[in-house]
Symmetry: C2
Subunit: 190 residues, 2 copies
DNA sequence: AGTTTTGTAAACAGATCAGTTTACTCAATT
DNA sequence: AATTGAGTAAACTGATCTGTTTACAAAACT
């Protein structure tokens, strides 16, 4: 019956609250109320709020990348098309009711000066998204796969910011148009 | 002697603290300590911390846009070149010791759900940057000036995120390369 | 000279924060 | 049947938060 462990329930509830309201703005009492779990149990699984935040970011890092790769591979077969379909998946993500931007970027914004562990986890998230794109870029025959991947990550993160600010998921299609130019530039034969 | 009013000193000190550590993470006592101003005086000029935050964002909105326009106009004369030199100014901005990203985007991240006034001020910031770029795009002869401006704002905000995450101001040059492709696409004769 | 404005310093109120502790329940294991 | 582990509920600690109040000082205005 109980499909999720208490630890997972806590991480899920925390992620939703943190992304919607921010890390500092959400107190542990709010998380306990939403998850229906006692304070004692929270501090059994996590030694501090900071520890919980780290777990939430690592969980996001894994699940989001899995989601992105799964969706991309389900839609297109060629690496060239997969690079572009990333932005269709993005539009789907932007359209979710609970979409509030990139958790990792938000975390860097709130902790970059104070907490090096959180900062490193967030950099890792962006780095791994870039690695995935580089992999696809290599398969697609890009001359400078690392360079193309960096451009696409910039477009990806830019689209996230614009989606949050404008509230319009369609900005993903604009990013896709720009991405096509980048890919064609890096792949075309001279 | 006292060049700045107490109100301006408070806004300056707050802006530096908020951008470096976040809005919720910085208490008013920290602002008072940094600015050397008493709590009584703070609450004379601002009716609440939220009111102070709004004033900081509006001040940022004005001063940053002025800075950008002044620097752009000082470097290039043609609208086409001005559109691109925006990213050279960005690199200069990213290289500042106190650079910690876009204050408006950070504020949206911390207040989007809770505070509509703050959210609106931040949207306004992004909208006005876009208007400036649209103006230049029109002068540069873009067929779809609004569309080109939207692309350039996306690159601009994407570059900011990547500069924060990577700590490398050079991402601005990468964005400039991408911007040149966008501009050429929108301006070239068919 | 007298009054108003502008400011500081510091104590205080009341809420909220993270985290601990005590006392209890209930189900699974042994 | 007894014990252990996982959990809840709630009081509590001590720190910190925003915002108010009281008391006082110095300068500016009339």
């Amino acid at each position: 019956m109980t499909r999720l462990s208490k630890r997972e329930i806590l991480i899920d509830a925390s992620r939703e609250l943190f992304i919607a309201r921010g890390f500092h703005a959400v107190g542990v009492d709010t998380i306990l109320k939403k998850s229906g779990i006692s304070k004692r149990t929270l501090y059994k699984y996590f030694k501090s709020k900071e520890d919980l935040i780290l777990a939430v970011i690592r969980h996001y890092d894994e699940t989001f990348r899995n989601y992105l790769m799964r969706e991309v591979e389900a839609r297109k077969d060629s690496a060239y098309e997969q690079l572009l379909v990333i932005f269709d998946v993005s539009e789907q993500w932007f359209s979710e009711a609970n979409f509030h931007g990139c958790l990792a970027v938000k975390a860097i914004g709130e902790f970059s000066e104070k907490n090096k562990a959180i900062q490193r986890s967030c950099e890792e998230f962006v780095r791994l998204i870039g690695e995935y794109m580089e992999e696809l870029a290599t398969k697609a025959g890009a001359r400078d796969a690392k360079g193309l991947a960096r451009e696409l990550v910039l477009l990806f993160e830019g689209a996230i910011v614009m989606a949050v600010v404008s509230g319009n998921p369609k900005v993903a299609q604009q990013a896709k148009t720009m991405a096509r130019r980048c890919v064609d530039e890096h792949v075309k034969k001279n």
